[in-house]
Every structure is written in C-alpha cells, then in structure tokens.
Subunit: 157 residues, 2 copies
DNA sequence: ATCAATGCAAATAATTTGCAAAAAG
DNA sequence: CTTTTTGCAAATTATTTGCATTGAT
C-alpha cells in the first residue's frame, strides 16, 4: 500500500468515526496516524509505544479501546498467530483477501493474494451451502534460506 | 474419523509418550481417553470437565500440561479463532490438511479437505521461495439457513 | 529407590473495566 | 452545558509455574 493510499484509508476511518458520532480526540488522532503511517503488522503494545512518540498522553487503555473501532471499520484486521497477544494488520483496505506465509524459523511474515485461491474457496464453500464472508489462510513454511543455511538471519527477534 | 480410527490414534499417542519416556498416569489416561473418544473440538476447560467425569482427580494443571504433549505429537491441533481461549481439534491424524468454515451466526464449524486447495497453496508458496509445512484456512461464512430464515437455529449456544 | 508427574495455590500477562476528571462539540 | 473520552489502577481470565507430595517404573 502506497503512502497516498494509506492517507486515503486514514480518511475513511475518520469518516467511520464521524458516522458513529465518535469524537476525534488528540489521542485517537495519534493512534490513527500511527496505524496508517505504515503497512507493518503490529501488536497493541507496539501501537502504544509508537503512538506515544506522537502524543505522550496516549494510554494503554485508549489503545485497547481504539483497536476494536479499527477492526470494526474493516480497515484493520486482527490476527491470531497462536501467540499470547494479537497482531494487527493495516493492509486490508486495498487487499481484503490477502494471506500470510510465516517462516517457522525467523517469524518473517510474507503477504500474498491469489484470485485463483479466492475462486476455489468460493466454489468449495458454495458446494457446502455457505457464502464466504471473509477468509484467513495462514501457511507455516520453511524458507529457502533456512533450507540452505539452516536458519534465517532474523532468528531470535 | 470412525471409532476404530480414534482408538488407533490414541494408541499412537501412547506410543509417543513411551518414546519420550513419559509415564502413563491415571490422569493422563483419563485425558487421552477423553480426547480420542470424540471428534468434537474442545477447549481446555471442556477437556478438564470431561476428563474429570472419568477420573475426578484430574486437575486443571495436568490438563494444561498434557495439551502441549498432544499438540507436539501432531495428533491434536491447537486453533485460534480469535476468542480468548484456544480450541483443540483431534481430527488431524487422518486429515492433516483439513480446513474450517465457521458460520458467523451460530458458530457451527464445518470441516473440509481439498487436494486442489493443497496443490494451489504449494504452488504459490513455492513461487515465493517457501516450502509449506502446515496450513490453516479459516473461512467465515453465512450459511443457507441464515440467508433464508435470517438466523441459524443454534444461535446463542 | 528414583525421578517424573501431580494438585494446589500463587504468579503471569494480555486485555478489560469502573470511576472521577478532562475535553470535544 | 452535555456527553463522550480519557488515564489510572484495579479487575478479569486463560494459562503457567514453584513446590512439597505422590505414584510409575
């Protein structure tokens, strides 16, 4: 997602707040600016840290109260990768069906999209009597580097 | 998974314990008997409750200590459906690549397998430089019944 | 006997919430 | 002014862990 795209997505979220008659406080602005200034995945804790760089008055509670608004708007997705915290992904506005490959060794996450995959999912679901609303595909994999060298550089966060 | 299949899977797990020189205690037996007596998904808390019906001395701690053994053996999978607890699925022994469709309204979970899907995932991953180790596809959907009647019978657990 | 496994209760850690004070509209 | 939002600190809740004891081999 390019920079102007992110700005447009942020705008959509501000409109979403407006439609719900929710106020745009300085803390919310800092959080939203943070979220839509990157296409990196983040945790609640990371978002708190980054938002505080813009506005040190942002509290953990406000971050946790804003995250459900972000996910409800559909512009940010919540993901559970089996860790004890959730990961948030701000890249769904332009790529609503993207999937993730996670390297088992270095935890690097690669995103990809596939129309063939989407079509196949719809076809299978339809045969079972369902209509796809959303989907999440996670592939755990080993990467070439791991196969060659035995481990990824990034290992050990 | 049929009853004899489940019995065979249980046997595999007991062998897994043996290979690791882990002891087969009465509590572990109750837990394992429970897990492989059904193909229902379950939570840690449900497993505790069911296992206690067989052996009331089973403690929550032992359930939580046994679950990692079950997942490590590959015979049970841990799944995160975005709830605040994990769900365990004992149906992977015979169907290691199965996927889930979750009805948005009644939370009913349908499992399915597809070789075409597996092949497509491998193909895409390979092009990106990864080798698939495992995959989890979750499809959130609305079911026919919901579309027709407006809601599923099961709604509200 | 030996060492793994247990139950208990306390600890952990992410997330949620009650409440009085502050700020948006 | 009125109502929402905030920060704080306490509460919640699934899961984990230390430890003395029990039980499998």
């Amino acid at each position: 997602m390019s920079e102007p795209d992110r700005a447009a997505t942020k705008e959509k979220f501000l409109q979403f707040l407006d439609q719900k008659n929710l106020r745009i406080t300085s803390q919310r602005r800092a959080i939203v600016d943070t979220v839509f200034s990157t296409d990196q995945h983040f945790t609640a804790e990371q978002l708190l840290e980054w938002a505080r760089e813009k506005d040190s008055s942002v509290s953990r509670a406000t971050v946790y109260r804003t995250l459900p608004l972000l996910t409800e708007s559909g512009l940010v997705h919540e993901m559970d990768f089996g860790k004890d915290y959730k990961i948030y992904d701000p890249n769904y506005a332009d790529h609503p069906n993207h999937n993730h490959i996670i390297c088992n060794d270095c935890d690097k996450i690669v995103e990809f999209e596939s129309e063939r995959l989407d079509a196949l999912e719809s076809e299978i679901s339809g045969k079972l009597g369902f209509e796809v609303e959303s989907q999440q595909l996670r592939i755990n994999a080993s990467c070439e580097e791991m196969k060659r060298v035995g481990a990824c550089k990034n290992k050990g966060e």
